[in-house]
């Protein structure tokens, strides 16, 4: 194990996978100097044939990813902020997600798209979306939201090797956060949630960026005598329903924490899964802590008022942990 920052772990995964397979190429805006640090050093190491700065043209970046993958390359494309998924969306939604189906399975599309998501830093509405639900709804695309440096590295390596298109979403608030990362070859399977804390009283299901607020909430709950279990849903598509349901069956109480806008969020989907498959184990209504269908305002105080935090989670958990009260 060595201690690494989230961004550093991503950078290592990119270096290792580019090294491993010479048919892996990477392109995007400013990947040479690396706005977020994640692609730093790749141009120097692998040269301008395999690592390219593109013009500002997300529609073409996403479309080229499809074409180059269809023509035999393993593609890593960087879209900078996840809000720029929208400017590249036709190629993502109409091509990337559908080509395998429409062509009767003739091709695989080994594409990994990187993008940084999330608010909390006064970047205003066009640079703060947590828009994984938009991608989850497409079908045909894996959606990954690692919350620790170890998972960031292990999942990215697996995603790059996978023959399915995937979006690897980097939580902006976690970039500088450190954690232990296993040395040597480290692969994390996609579609597996992790149990980040064992507990008996309530299951806190954290989606990607929300891990820190969730951990803080679990500490506060522990002080109040509530023993929370934390499920870190690091992969949204595929979704590890088993681990979720198992925990819900154990605790009977669930709060799902997701930085997305509430409507059709990952949280609301997970709540639906629990209603379908975990109903027998429920002892209280399922609660969601999400963003209340607003984009992020710029002013720090206005953003903080909307952004899910530990107190919101504690409040939601407490509301369903009073014995025998149907909240």
């Amino acid at each position: 194990m060595s201690r690494k920052r989230y961004t550093q772990a991503i950078n290592e995964a990119l270096h290792e996978e580019m090294e491993r397979d010479p048919k892996t190429i990477l392109f995007g805006e400013d990947v040479a100097l690396a706005v977020f640090g994640d692609t730093r050093g790749l141009l120097d190491k692998f040269g301008p044939k395999r690592v390219r700065n593109t013009p500002i043209c997300e529609a073409t970046i996403a479309g080229m990813a499809v074409g180059a993958a269809a023509a035999g390359y393993r593609v890593i494309a960087h879209l900078l902020f996840s809000n720029f998924i929208y400017t590249g969306f036709d190629a993502i939604a109409n091509q990337m997600a559908k080509l395998r189906l429409m062509t009767g399975g003739q091709i695989d599309l080994p594409i990994t798209v990187l993008a940084v998501y999330g608010g909390g830093a006064s970047q205003a509405a066009q640079h703060s979306d947590a828009n994984h639900p938009v991608l989850m709804n497409l079908g045909g695309i894996d959606v990954l939201v690692p919350a620790t440096p170890a998972d960031a590295k292990g999942m990215l390596k697996t995603a790059i090797r996978s023959n399915r298109p995937s979006f690897f979403l980097e939580a902006s608030g976690l970039g500088a956060v450190g954690g232990e990362v296993p040395d040597g070859e480290h692969l994390v399977p996609l579609g597996k949630a992790s149990v980040a804390r064992d507990g008996m009283d309530v299951t806190l299901i954290s989606v990607g960026s929300m891990i820190r607020a969730t951990q803080n909430a679990a500490k506060k709950l522990a002080e109040a005598g509530v023993d929370a279990e934390i499920i870190d849903v690091r992969s949204l598509v595929p979704l590890d329903e088993r681990t979720i349901i198992k925990s819900v069956m154990k605790t009977g109480r669930t709060v799902i924490i997701d930085e997305a806008r509430d409507m059709c969020s990952a949280a609301s989907h997970i709540a639906a899964v629990i209603a379908d498959k975990g109903f027998a184990g429920l002892r209280a209504p399922v609660r969601r802590v999400t963003v209340n269908n607003s984009s992020m305002p710029y002013a720090p105080n206005a953003e903080a008022a909307i952004f899910p935090n530990a107190d919101d989670i504690v409040r939601a958990a407490t509301s369903i942990c009073q014995p025998e009260t149907a909240a």
Binding site: V35, I56, S122, Q126, Y298, P300, N301, A302
Partner: protein
């Protein structure tokens, strides 16, 4: 605030017009220099992209517009906002995230807008203003009132497909649109020439509209090009393309050094060359007005002091403002109290 007089007839009207352009350029320069200082010393809530060195483009173009002409801007939009008549107090309060901000603290630096002044707004999406300005030009055409819609965008934005789409629509529908490319040679941390084929101006030529490529640090050259383009709009003659070559002195954004972690995309020499009086748009205009006897050193010093005072007043206004309303986002997005 249109400045109708470009010919040097030395009339009082002409002199006033010249001084008013200088006054705006000074206001922009001092406002942004102050923002740079605050960003560095105490920090501002979000990122700020400054246009120091590019003031002539914003001021030259806007000097030819009326308040009810439309204008869309970019992520580097403070200069456009002030040049089009936006209020510096309201802009600073916005950047400070206060409810007295022009957008009540909801948008910040990258989204300053004032519809009452025709300022449709800055934009966080590169190329985001292009189609919006084209749409405003469509509305102006339907209104038949001779209004123009100006779109500022960067050389980086010109590589977005929407640029070509808008040139096409504006041309084919003969819209009163003015596409103003601020060509500073840089797209974020990439030298634009490494990601751009051909000349941007040729793209506009291909869509059959008048093109003028001007020295973007010569405010009069810009104003003249704008004048021609605006007159075409007034006469319903269709769109124009203006390309202003200029240079951004500051980093892409104020936190640039931290983001780059030691990486570089330009030399200090290059920046220093553009800072010199023979290139700096304000120094050039100052010297020119001095030679013409319109603005001597004393007047220039007074105007500089006035700009500084206005900026200090704006800082005070911003600092004193109430914090943004924490319920406003929900109200504006039509969200009920309970999810």
């Amino acid at each position: 605030m249109a400045t109708p007089i470009l010919t040097q007839d030395q009339s009082v009207t002409w002199q006033t017009a010249q001084l008013s352009m200088l006054e705006r350029m000074l206001l922009i320069r001092h406002a942004e220099s102050r923002l740079a200082r605050v960003a560095k010393e105490v920090g501002l809530p979000g990122g700020v992209h400054l246009s120091i060195g590019q003031e002539a483009t914003a001021v030259g173009i806007c000097s030819q517009l009326e308040e009810d002409d439309w204008m869309t801007s970019t992520h580097r939009g403070h200069g456009h906002f002030l040049a089009k008549g936006g209020d510096v107090n309201a802009m600073f309060a916005e950047i400070w995230g206060k409810s007295s901000g022009i957008c009540k603290g909801m948008g910040g630096s990258m989204h300053v807008a004032d519809f009452s002044k025709g300022i449709i707004g800055a934009n966080g999406i590169v190329g985001g203003g292009l189609a919006i300005a084209t749409g405003a030009a469509l509305a102006a055409q339907l209104d038949g009132n001779g209004r123009a819609a100006v779109c500022f965008f960067g050389d980086g934005a010109a590589n977005q497909g929407v640029f070509m789409e808008c040139l096409n629509v504006a041309s084919i529908w003969n819209l009163p649109a003015i596409f103003v490319c601020e060509n500073n040679g840089l797209s974020e941390f990439t030298v634009s020439s490494t990601v751009t084929a051909g000349k941007l101006s040729d793209r506009a030529r291909a869509f059959d509209m008048p093109v003028s490529v001007v020295d973007g640090n010569d405010v009069r050259a810009i104003a003249q090009a704008a004048r021609n383009a605006v007159e075409r709009c007034r006469r319903s003659e269709g769109p124009s393309y203006i390309e202003a070559s200029t240079y951004r002195i500051q980093g892409h954004l104020e936190a640039e050094d931290m983001i780059l972690g030691g990486g570089t995309y330009r030399t200090n020499d290059e920046v220093e060359r553009w800072r010199k009086d023979d290139r700096d748009p304000i120094a050039r205009f100052r010297d020119c007005l001095n030679n013409e006897g319109v603005c001597d050193h004393t007047l220039f010093a007074t105007m500089t002091a006035d700009a500084e005072a206005a900026v200090e007043a704006a800082v005070a206004f911003a600092e004193q403002g109430d914090p943004a309303d924490t319920k406003l986002a929900y109200a504006l997005m039509g969200v009920g109290e309970e999810a």
